[in-house]
Subunit: 154 residues, 2 copies
């Protein structure tokens, strides 16, 4: 009998569940975690991709990614949650290890490491917190010289 969880804890659990569903390649779970269209339009940006809008476009992208991903694991760090009434913004760093389908009889394709940062917006619904917007982007440079990072990028 644990104490009631706070909104922040519930949102963080939903955020974790979202990545675990992708790790498992569980399309139904991913679809269930994205906000139902009746609550408003969803949007999704995968690293380097243009914006995808609406459940149809977003879920098709996950089906496509899952078909091309044999193995994927997310090590989430720097998870920050900000809740305001029925909406929450989560930012986190996705330390990704992934591999495509095997080639030439190998058990698994080559593994690739990726550093991605994400902003995930959640909405509270009667069925729990659901993903309203996901935006992931590659971290292109880590430099101590902030001046270099800043040039021309907004």
């Amino acid at each position: 009998m644990s104490a009631a969880r706070t909104d922040t804890e519930d949102v963080e659990l939903a955020n974790t569940a979202f990545y675990e569903a992708v790790e498992r390649g569980d399309f139904e779970a991913v679809a269930d975690l994205w906000l139902d269209e009746r609550y408003g339009g969803v949007s999704c940006v995968h690293p380097g991709w243009p914006v995808l809008s609406g459940r149809g476009e977003v879920l098709r992208s996950y089906a496509l990614i899952m078909a091309n991903t044999e193995y994927i694991q997310f090590f989430l760090t720097d998870v920050k949650v900000a809740v305001a009434a029925d909406t929450a913004v989560v930012t986190c760093t996705e330390n990704i290890l992934s591999g495509g389908p095997a080639e030439d009889g190998a058990e698994l394709g080559p593994l690739v490491g990726q550093l991605v940062v994400a902003t995930n917006v959640f909405r509270r619904t009667p069925d729990g917190w659901k993903v309203w917007s996901h935006h992931g982007s590659p971290v292109l440079a880590e430099s101590d010289d902030e001046d270099e990072d800043a040039e021309g990028a907004v």
Copy 2:
């Protein structure tokens, strides 16, 4: 005496004002458009950057970018607004033309074009809609072959 604007129109105006403030290099206007800390923690991801959290870190990044940007113009396309109660998610494509400070006596540094997609989350406050979260990321590939885009990217 125009008819009252809808929430969607108000949010789109706030989104436009945000980019115009950056175009003008108007730091005070940019600071005014970011959500006040008392309403919750803000977050910001510039293209290729890690996550910045809190007004201090976010506003310092704008000061730094403005100091390194002599000229910047945003041509916004594909602007989509989703409003739910006191929160709104805007996605748009930022077609950016920018230039750094002049070198070697030139009037302006070399101009660079950039294709960036953004997810901007706004909150309704007594002072209007304010930016709660901004996430911009480079569009790295535009390919008709969706399979190629999908590999390993989530």
